[in-house]
């Protein structure tokens, strides 16, 4: 009986160990030849990072880049946990995140790769075409509930926001809403695309999106940051000359000890070639 067992088990062990050894060899070989970089985070940066990754992989066969979305918070959490090489971010690091990094003795390098203008959008049927910052704040904190209070038709305002994991959510809260909390009845959607879709089909809707997501199904509003003296339309030109008030930098963030690995990706993003992609996608290049 023992013999039969041995007969059964020995070849099995042999086969298993052979197979394992072989796969391990292969992995190390491919690692040496190719650098694989993971980029994770902001959905706002996502289309740009994807485009750049595609172009980079076409020209440089030695790098493979994986781009994953989810929101700035997701990317930074992944960077803290060490599950991504680069975090895409549409806002600066928060103080508590900075503390987390310093606890782990990680030094984070932030690179601005482009600028984005945050566009406030409404349904095309809406008569309102401009709002002041104060009005926007009151709409999203729930103080203004009807369009007629800001010069529109007698229609209930339906405010759409992103989920709290989004950098756009935080940025809008800090910059436009004076750090006040959103009203509880603000609808929150999981993706920017869903906001465009919802605002396009809802008459009294208002929402905010990155400039690159703007389509014909929605109408963008001019915004005033000086109590209504001057209203500025969001566009690449007005964001570039900084006359449009709600614009923000987009970041790539990485661990300094990891700099050598991500260098190709960062360099490409800052190169003239990479900056060309920025304007193709609809964001504002660095210079």
């Amino acid at each position: 009986m023992n013999r039969t067992k041995l007969f059964l088990i020995l070849p099995l062990i042999g086969m298993l160990s052979c197979g394992k050894a072989k796969t391990e060899n292969k992995e190390t070989e491919s690692n040496a030849a190719k650098v694989s970089v993971t980029i994770k985070g902001s959905d706002t940066v996502l289309p740009l990072a994807q485009k750049e990754a595609e172009e980079l992989m076409k020209t440089n066969k030695d790098v493979s880049v994986t781009v994953v979305g989810g929101g700035t918070g997701v990317g930074l959490t992944a960077l803290i946990d060490g599950t991504t090489d680069i975090a895409m971010a549409s806002r600066d690091i928060k103080t508590e995140e900075k503390l987390k990094f310093s606890e782990l003795k990680k030094e984070i390098e932030e690179v601005i790769i482009a600028y984005d203008a945050l566009t406030v959008i409404v349904n095309p049927a809406n008569k309102v075409s401009k709002l002041t910052r104060e009005q926007l704040e009151k709409i999203f904190t729930g103080e203004i509930k009807n369009w007629k209070e800001v010069g529109g038709a007698d229609e209930k305002i339906v405010a759409y926001s992103r989920e709290s994991s989004s950098g756009t959510y935080e940025f809008f809260k800090d910059e436009v809403m004076d750090k006040k909390n959103y009203a509880t009845d603000v609808l929150s959607l999981a993706a920017t695309g869903a906001i465009v879709q919802a605002v396009g089909q809802t008459k009294g809707a208002i929402g905010y999106i990155g400039l690159a997501y703007e389509t014909k199904e929605v109408k963008q509003l001019a915004v005033s940051y000086d109590q209504g003296k001057t209203f500025v339309e969001p566009s690449i030109a007005s964001a570039k000359d900084k006359s449009y008030p709600i614009s923000r930098p987009l970041f790539y963030m990485y661990d300094k000890t990891n700099a050598a690995k991500v260098k190709t990706v960062i360099d490409y993003a800052l190169s003239p070639e990479g900056q060309k992609r920025v304007s193709e996608i609809g964001y504002i290049p660095l210079n």
């Binding site: 959490t77 946990d81 904190t141 989920e163 709290s164 509880t184 609808l187 929150s188 089909q201």
Partner: protein, 402 residues
């Protein structure tokens, strides 16, 4: 030798079977254990970010503030200390980043080394201040007074009506709107799915011809194979605008939209299980009924339905189980506003949708992370309760019969 080999083979198979069942049970227990350990953590924490504190001037009579009061203060809804039981003094908000309004970079030092002293100075000279800053910047001879903040209590967690898990400085952890949202959407789904599902099951098992049945059954089963995110898409693009125009609503993302999508998703479970139960009615019983002069309809509802009642309940409750736990489709169509719903035509936020949307951003081990696990525990208890109900109902029914 031959018998030996056979014995070994049987032993091996036996042990594989045992191992796999043991592994399943252990996994289940581990998951539940893990869920509750992580979830319980939220009740040992304060709703303020770890390592941060809220401080007021030393002579401020206000000793303690409720989380909701702190939120209202920082939202500038409460602007005077007398509204929260203090002196008649305007509230001055201070967040760490506001320091640049009071002091220049040189005054603070290169690495913020003078920060603690400056905060001290600021709190001493501003009687109405409420300051939110990191522990690190608390000076040794701190002149202000730290506000007491209670730990999160189970009762407050369950009965709180505001869900702002990332709010600064105090997170608002009230899950009542989420529990209500989950129950409303599931209840609506079952209200829609049960009559339709039952009707379809009766038709398929008793009335339909063999050919129609062989055509319809696979189609219905196919419904169960469509990924839930596709249902979500369908809901967002078709059902949401439909509900909006049908009821003339300002917004179509409502509990009703979620219920309709979930009802469609729960249908195959309900239909298949209750149809199987009905078809298990012994032929002799049906024929006896018909022989006594009962019509086909009388047979169906006096004989077939009572006989298969336990199967029908099981199907219905498994359907609800799916509805309560469903994430993606609901996330896409219910609008996700965390308010306690007043009607089916209002947006709601469900527990699974909240977990799915927020877990990715919650740093491992933090307050928000543990609060989401506590939500998972609540969801688990709800579905566990439903499963127990199924057990009870089916047991009771089978006792009656025999």
């Amino acid at each position: 030798m031959k018998t030996n080999l056979k014995q070994i083979k049987e032993k091996v198979i036996e042990s594989i079977l045992m191992l796999s069942s043991a592994a399943t049970s252990i996994t289940v227990i581990l998951i539940v254990f893990f869920l509750f350990i992580e979830g319980a953590g939220v009740f040992s924490k304060k709703p303020i970010e770890d390592g941060f504190l809220l401080a007021v001037a030393a002579d401020n009579p206000v000793k303690k503030l409720e989380p909701s009061q702190i939120k209202d203060i920082f939202d500038q809804k409460i602007k005077n200390w007398k509204e929260v039981g203090g002196k008649d003094e305007a509230i001055v908000l201070f967040r760490t980043s506001d320091i640049s309004q009071y002091y220049t970079d040189e005054e603070l030092g290169e690495n913020f080394e003078y920060f603690p002293a400056k905060i001290n100075e600021l709190i001493a000279k501003t009687p109405g201040i409420v300051a939110f800053f990191s522990d690190k910047y608390k000076a040794k001879d701190f002149k202000g007074r730290e506000l007491d903040i209670d730990r999160i209590k189970v009762f407050e967690f369950l009965s709180g009506e505001e869900w702002f898990p990332t709010a600064q400085p105090i997170a608002q952890m009230g899950v009542k709107p989420l529990i209500y949202g989950t129950l409303w959407v599931s209840f609506g789904a079952i209200l829609l799915a049960l009559p339709i599902g039952l009707a379809a099951a009766i038709y398929l098992s008793e009335i339909a011809k063999k050919r129609t049945r062989s055509l319809l059954k696979p189609l219905i089963e196919l419904l169960a194979g469509i990924p839930s995110v596709v249902y979500g898409f369908f809901g967002l693009v078709v059902i949401v605008p439909l509900i909006q125009s049908l009821f003339n609503l300002p917004v179509g993302e409502t509990a009703l939209a979620g219920s309709v999508v979930l009802a469609i998703m729960a249908l195959p479970t309900i239909i298949t299980i209750s149809e199987d139960a009905m078809r298990n009615t012994p032929r002799a019983m049906k024929e006896a009924s018909l022989a006594l002069g009962a019509s086909q309809w009388q047979t169906i509802y006096k004989v077939v339905i009572p006989y298969s009642a336990s199967g029908i309940t099981a199907g219905a409750i498994l359907g609800i189980g799916r509805a309560i736990g469903e994430t993606m489709a609901v996330l896409m169509v219910t609008g996700n506003a965390a308010v306690i719903p007043k009607s089916f035509l209002a947006p709601v936020r469900t527990i699974p949708a909240t977990i799915a949307a927020e877990l990715g951003e919650a740093p491992n081990g933090g307050l928000h992370y543990e609060a989401l696990f506590a939500l998972g525990c609540i969801l688990f208890l709800i579905t566990f309760g439903i499963n127990m109900l199924v057990e009870m109902v089916t047991n009771k029914q089978s006792h009656k019969k025999h």
